[in-house]
Amino acid sequence: MNKRTGQTLRRSLLAVLLLAVLASCSPYAGVNVGVPFKVGPVYVNPSIGVGGML
């Protein structure tokens, strides 16, 4: 491995580390909960809104 390749690798590693660190400032950065809501499906149900009135 020549000197230039070593520097490039080190810089890439540094960039990845910084991105990982910045992302980790959010407590939930990597949480994946899926895609519950989308435009298109029918959401109407006569029970919607009853709970808010309990």
Partner: protein, 284 residues
């Protein structure tokens, strides 16, 4: 002509830079205001809501305009929202791999380690292991056996007392599932709930309660295309106006106010990141 610094010096500088960022991030890890009263413990109550969003700035603008929430930066990836001065929600940045937002309710628990164990034992999933948030307590993200995600919070500063929700604050929470019986059994075991039901006109409504207080609704989801999920309700003063404004701000209307459902007092919206929520007027 300037001489470049030796490679060793550059490497040391780079390490120092990484450590600087690590320390900086740790130092600015969320120092959150208390949301409850010391000594108040209301296990089974939804005590907080966080929006997980891929675009913090866009979400901030949307909710600031829609509900007049005020925001303050707690850390680089987390914003605190206030409604009329009172903490109402958090906005947390998702990493670049995810493109869809989601509202995550947090349910109060007495022992977060026990909640995680009980979830695993019952066939659920621990999505995010318990982590400490300064000023708040310990938080974990779980999924029930049907796949609906929710958070749990072991508060270090007490839970918020029950009160009538202000306009533009949280009103109610529901679980939409394709297995009402299985979900009820899971949440009963996890949070010590009992089952309750109410009738409004010709509509029967099932909910889960603890210590006599209704805490979360439990519905067969209205459409099989929708994954099992928790759904969070916000109280608004004018549901039609909020619906129009949400659309103008780049949100989507998943269910417009209509006479078939609570006489037009409720709508289901999604923010520009795709996070769904319900808005409801409380009419007399």
């Amino acid at each position: 002509m300037h001489r470049l610094p030796p490679t060793g010096v550059v490497a040391v500088l780079q390490i120092v830079l990484v450590v600087f960022f690590l320390v900086g991030c740790a130092a600015q890890s969320p120092e959150l205001p208390a949301i409850g009263t010391p000594g108040t413990s209301l296990p089974g109550k939804v005590v907080w809501h966080d929006l997980l969003t891929p675009d913090l700035d866009k979400s901030r603008t949307f909710y600031a305009e829609l509900f007049r929430w005020q925001f303050e930066e707690v850390s680089d990836g987390y914003l605190l929202a206030r409604n009329e001065g009172r903490p109402v929600a958090g906005l947390a940045r998702l990493d670049a791999k995810q493109s869809i937002g989601h509202w995550l309710p947090q349910v109060s628990v007495v022992d977060i380690a026990e909640a995680q164990n009980a979830t695993r034992t019952a066939g659920g999933e621990v999505v995010l292991k318990a982590l400490s948030l300064k000023g708040r307590g310990e938080v974990a993200v779980l999924k029930d056996p049907q796949g609906a995600a929710f958070g749990v919070l072991q508060s270090s500063h007490g839970d918020p007392a029950d009160r009538v929700p202000a306009v533009n604050a949280w009103l109610w929470n529901e679980i939409w599932t394709d297995d009402v019986v299985g979900a009820a059994a899971f949440y009963d075991q996890l949070f010590g709930y009992e089952r309750g039901s109410a009738r409004l006109g010709n509509v029967s409504y099932d909910f889960l309660k603890r210590d006599g207080r209704p805490r979360v609704g439990l519905l067969a989801k209205p459409n099989p295309e929708i994954p099992n999920t928790w759904l969070c309700y916000l109280r608004v003063a004018d549901v039609a106006a909020v619906t129009d404004k949400a659309r103008a701000l780049g949100g989507s209307v998943l269910m417009a106010p209509n006479t078939e459902v609570r006489n037009g007092s409720v709508a289901i919206l999604a923010d520009p990141s795709g996070a769904g929520f319900v808005v409801q007027e409380l009419r007399k």
